[in-house]
């Protein structure tokens, strides 16, 4: 009862007012007035309290989410535009490029990620080979494990696992760093001092990641294939030399390049989304956390969408 009553009051308050006025003006029967009077007394005893976090209907929620989605998409476009403008400024005056910051980002986002990327892609190679081993053994097609591991790692898994790790590692760090700076007024201070935040915070990160990701992907390729080779030897009795021999025939250079080629695109997506969400931070520390989470979820989502689009495009192009 107590839950429904305030809602009822709030909704009916204006309606009741209109009703009372109407009836009063028309000079209706005394009974009606009395009824209204009683109704008003009732309303006074139960004044329409402003609801704690006004309950919205499903339709309202749908509308709100939709508009916020469009708003965010628009803001993202604006952000990309600003970044492109800053990039144009860099290209026009290459002396403005902050190489020190680029190198620093190259180390933190690239070099420092080597162990985790290596370990995870090695394990991925192990898993792929292990899962395939059972099936291949049944048909006596043991040697095809090289095709399986080589193609799947080089074309799909290595770029994807690298992107996912980098999104979790660096994309979140970008959002948190920029978000914290926004909260502590450092971004405002930067503008006031006459430093373009995009030039110092966004472009070096994008540039560094676009350079680092393909290299990380190559590293993931190597470690993934190594994982597959270890599994092929222990489970299927396919030696290292045999495996590599077969892989060289089965996997074309195109497949390798297709995998590497996706990496810079994934890198740009991760860096852009991370920085974008960082700049959208407003308010306090909880906002930093929210934007960081959002940056990781969105960048992984967009990376997988981009990967799917790549698959479609490459199959159309017959690559």
């Amino acid at each position: 009862m107590s839950v429904f009553q305030p809602t009822f009051c709030a909704i009916d308050h204006t309606a009741a007012k209109a009703l009372t006025i109407c009836l009063g003006v028309c000079g209706c029967a005394q009974t009606c007035r009395l009824a209204c009077h009683i109704f008003w007394r009732f309303m006074k005893f139960n004044p329409p309290v402003p609801l704690i976090a006004a309950k919205s209907t499903m339709l309202e929620n749908v509308g709100r989410s939709t508009t916020s989605l469009f708003e965010q998409a628009w803001a993202m476009l604006v952000f990309i535009g600003e970044t492109a403008q800053a990039l144009a400024g860099w290209l026009a005056q290459p002396s403005r490029i902050r190489w020190r910051v680029v190198l620093f980002n190259l180390r933190t986002a690239g070099f420092d990620a080597l162990p985790i990327v290596g370990l995870l892609s090695f394990l991925l190679g192990v898993v792929v080979a292990y899962q395939g081993a059972d099936q291949l053994r049944q048909y006596g097609a043991n040697i095809f494990v090289a095709d399986l591991v080589g193609l799947s790692m080089l074309r799909e898994f290595a770029p994807l696992i690298t992107a996912i790790i980098v999104a979790g590692r660096s994309g979140s760090a970008y959002a948190a760093q920029i978000g914290t700076m926004a909260v502590t007024e450092e971004i405002d201070a930067m503008r006031t001092i006459g430093i373009e935040p995009h030039e110092l915070l966004v472009l070096p990160k994008i540039l560094a990641l676009v350079i680092a990701m393909p290299l990380l992907t190559v590293f993931a390729d190597v470690l993934g294939v190594m994982g597959g080779m270890v599994m092929a030897k222990t489970q299927l009795g396919v030696g290292f030399a045999e495996f590599l021999d077969r892989m060289a025939n089965a996997v074309s250079v195109t497949s390798y390049l297709v995998g590497i080629g996706k990496a810079p695109v994934f890198a740009a997506i991760i860096a852009l989304v991370g920085c974008f969400q960082g700049f959208r931070t407003h308010g306090g520390a909880d906002s930093v956390g929210r934007q960081t989470t959002r940056s990781v979820v969105q960048s992984i989502f967009l990376v997988i969408v981009a990967d799917a689009l790549f698959s479609v495009v490459f199959s159309v192009l017959d690559l």
Binding site: T184, D188, A189, R191, T192, G194
Partner: protein, 283 residues
């Protein structure tokens, strides 16, 4: 003065007593919410101009509009003789280098030491050598009353008061003509706040800076402000000296002076010094 920047309209005659900041018919809206409505105010050269008002009265927004961090919905703002509307990138940069801003929370860069923070504007915009920059930064540090060893520390290691002083030192790095202070004494203990009073007076009297500040600190306002603008209900309620304001009967102003804190500050101000000027200019 000052309208000598390239590409800047000099339609108004640039005389010595032209206002440093000239705001005309300024309105600001966030969506349907009106923050400012038709605000007109001028800040004169070498005065301490304070902006007060309740929370949500748009003080900070007004300050952000003056320092090119926010664009008003309509109206005109001229700072140092330059119209802030549609500034080119280079003009905006030139203008930004002529003022300094001390942010409420300091806005110091966490990844740089205090000395590097102070030297950053110089490093970015002047061809000076590092040794020279460090020397100037150390001077500014001393000017704001910080010990030299603070220079090697990181902002996270500083207390609130030290952070504000360091932020002020950075704002002064490029020897600005105009200084903006956002709540210079908020969150400081009374002793540290008194230090800020001295500092502000010193900057105005010794360096001839024009200072615009947002503050709620009655002690500070009584001691240092030449004129105070009161924002309330989206409009400018009054511009006057503190003494002038205390005589006004205005629902937005009177509460400010009432209560024990207000009386204490007023009494202290009367004891300590006579207000320097009393022309009141109620709107």
């Amino acid at each position: 003065m000052a309208s000598s920047l390239p590409g800047v309209s000099t339609s108004d005659s640039a005389s010595a007593d032209a206002p440093v900041i000239d705001i005309r018919e300024l309105s600001t809206r966030f969506g349907a919410k009106v923050v400012h409505h038709d605000i007109n105010l001028q800040v004169r050269r070498a005065e301490v101009f304070a902006i007060i008002g309740g929370s949500g009265s748009g003080k900070s927004t007004l300050l952000r509009e003056m320092i090119l961090l926010h664009t008003p919905s309509s109206g005109r703002i001229k700072v140092l003789g330059v119209d802030l509307k549609d500034l080119s990138r280079d003009d905006a940069l030139n203008l930004r280098l002529r003022w300094g801003v001390m942010f409420q929370h300091g806005g110091l860069f966490g990844s740089l030491t205090v000395l590097e923070n102070i030297g950053l504007p110089l490093r970015e915009h002047t061809p000076m050598k590092d040794s020279q920059i460090d020397k100037i930064a150390a001077e500014k540090l001393a000017l704001t009353g910080l010990k030299p060893e603070v220079g090697a520390q990181y902002p996270a290691q500083l207390s609130g008061g030290m952070m504000k002083r360091a932020s002020l030192a950075r704002a002064l790095a490029l020897d600005p003509e105009l200084l903006f202070l956002d709540e210079p004494t908020a969150g400081l203990d009374p002793q540290a706040a008194a230090g800020v009073d001295e500092l502000v007076l010193h900057l105005r009297d010794q360096l001839g800076l024009t200072i615009v500040m947002i503050s709620h600190d009655l002690d500070l306002l009584w001691r240092v402000s030449d004129r105070v603008a009161v924002l309330g209900d989206g409009t400018l309620q009054a511009v006057a000296s503190m003494a002038g304001l205390s005589q006004l009967d205005n629902p937005w102003i009177t509460p400010f002076f009432e209560g024990a804190r207000g009386h204490a500050a007023q009494a202290a101000a009367h004891r300590a010094l006579q207000p320097r000027e009393t022309p009141s200019k109620p709107k």
